[in-house]
Amino acid sequence: MSAQALEVVADGTALQARGLRKVFGSGDDATVALDGVDLDIRAGEFVTVVGASGCGKSTLLNIFAGLDAPTSGTVWTATKPALMFQDATLLPWLTAQRNVELALKLRGVPRAQRAERARQLLDVVRLTGWEDKRPHELSGGMRQRVSLARCLAQDTSIVLMDEPLGALDAMTRDHLHDEIESVVQEQNLTVVFVTHNMREAVRLGDRVILMGSRPGRIVYETVIDLPHPRLMDSTGVAERAADLTTRLKAGKAYLEGADS
């Protein structure tokens, strides 16, 4: 990630951000997408980030992924993170197997080991038997599972997920929540999961971070200590989600009041 020297990072930290600011454009057209974002994520933590669209949460992930540089501030990550995109972004000319193999190839895994390793990873996401299908022959949920396997192929302990389930129907989404949770636990991953769905955030997160808009910044964060397994529609999740939604609205109202 960023080459700048940071203060000594405590053991067990997977990701640290300090004073992140991102400005798009310049002069009168300048938009402050992110301002004053500080974040510490422990190894093995599942952090969900919630906010309205345009609050800069995708920008934040892009900066974590190294796709975008912050205007100011620093980011440190324990390893180069993998990124799961909103629409899977599988290459349509490659089979599921080859899509996973490409990630192995690009990180220098010798050719002889790629096929076997990709098969193992597709097995982790329970897609054995679907290796030779092309993306258009797979369902939306299956595509996201291939995408998850491809993240695992990057051999990193940090996975950034940018609304990966936003385009799926409710049943498939619930199913993938279980899937992601079990893979994350098996592989001992650190996850930053961005969503605009508060219940999803509460359902998955060890910790939920609320982001306000214009400029994007962290308005509130809380630890979710509900027992697992959780269900999106359980009362516990629904109550926490309702409470957080109120807080997010309050944060936004506060900001809009300050604007006028």
Binding site: D87, R107, E137, G141, Q185
Partner: protein
């Protein structure tokens, strides 16, 4: 989290196209074409019967087809066709190499694109026959003059195919390449070029059409004495008023062009189908 989350897979995959056997498929492919040919022959016969033009300048389909039958038994015809086909392949291959190289350079290098990007599109609109006087001045009535014009006709389309193919690679794919750690070479080899392939193949199809037209124009203008070609055969048939030979040769030129175009189209179609870009149409 507990082990109970290992739920079975309940998702349904997208329906996969089933192969319905090739024989009905072939028939569905053939009959519209057969019908079209029959219609053309019928109209031709009607015009012939109407006596619009005397038979020695406008022969009937039967006369033309029987002349075609005689023609294909002569060594001279095959030698003419050989010359034309070799010129087409040579010119197209050279245009392919040059067009692809220019296309990649222009797509990659911004100043180069500003300088000649619009020139390439402009060249595409230039009728290739307009190059011949210059080509003949430069190379004389020779093979090189034909080659020169064929390459100039086809290369801009091919270059444009490369450029628009590269331009239209979804930004998400290049972002993916960066997340996966692809360097500039790998980014091109594994992401950009494969993503640009369908557009490139359409560029090649168009390039072929231009190459074939340029070649025919060239063979009519640049007739080399000891070298029979399909174009030269047309010209001689006109000079000696051999109408059936003229029309039979035109048929050969039409069929050759269509066959090659069909090969390109079917390559493009199977490419698109494999990517799920075209569900089922043929």
């Amino acid at each position: 989290m507990s082990a109970s989350v290992l739920t079975p897979n309940v998702e349904k995959p997208a329906p996969v196209r089933s192969g319905a056997g090739w024989a009905p498929h072939m028939w569905a492919w053939i009959w519209p074409k057969a019908l079209a040919i029959l219609l053309v022959l019928a109209v031709w016969q009607l015009v012939y019967w109407s006596g619009w033009r005397p038979a020695y300048v406008f022969p009937s389909p039967i006369e033309t087809l029987s002349q075609l039958g005689t023609m294909v038994q002569t060594e001279r015809f095959w030698s003419a066709m050989g010359t034309t086909v070799i010129r087409a392949i040579g010119g197209f291959a050279l245009a392919l190499v040059i067009g692809t190289m220019i296309g990649i350079l222009v797509a990659r290098i911004t100043p180069l694109r500003l300088a000649i990007g619009s020139l390439i599109t402009g060249l595409q609109t230039m009728p290739s026959i307009a190059w011949f006087p210059l080509a003949i001045l430069l190379f004389g009535l020779d093979e090189q003059a034909i080659l020169f014009v064929v390459v100039l006709g086809a290369a801009p389309s091919i270059a444009n195919g490369v450029i628009s193919g590269i331009d239209n690679v979804p930004p998400a794919f290049t972002r993916l390449g960066r997340v996966l750690g692809a360097g500039p070479v790998a980014q091109y080899r594994d992401i950009v070029l494969p993503a640009a392939l369908p557009t490139y193949v359409s560029g090649l199809t168009q390039g072929w059409a231009f190459a074939w037209r340029s070649l025919m124009a060239g063979e009519l203008l640049v007739i080399i004495a000891e070298k029979p070609s399909l174009g030269a055969q047309l010209e001689f048939a006109r000079q000696f008023s051999q109408a059936p030979t003229l029309l039979a040769t035109m048929l050969v030129i039409l069929i050759l062009g269509m066959v090659v175009d069909g090969l390109f189209s079917s390559a493009a179609r199977s490419l698109r189908r494999r990517r799920g870009l075209e569900v089922d149409s043929s």
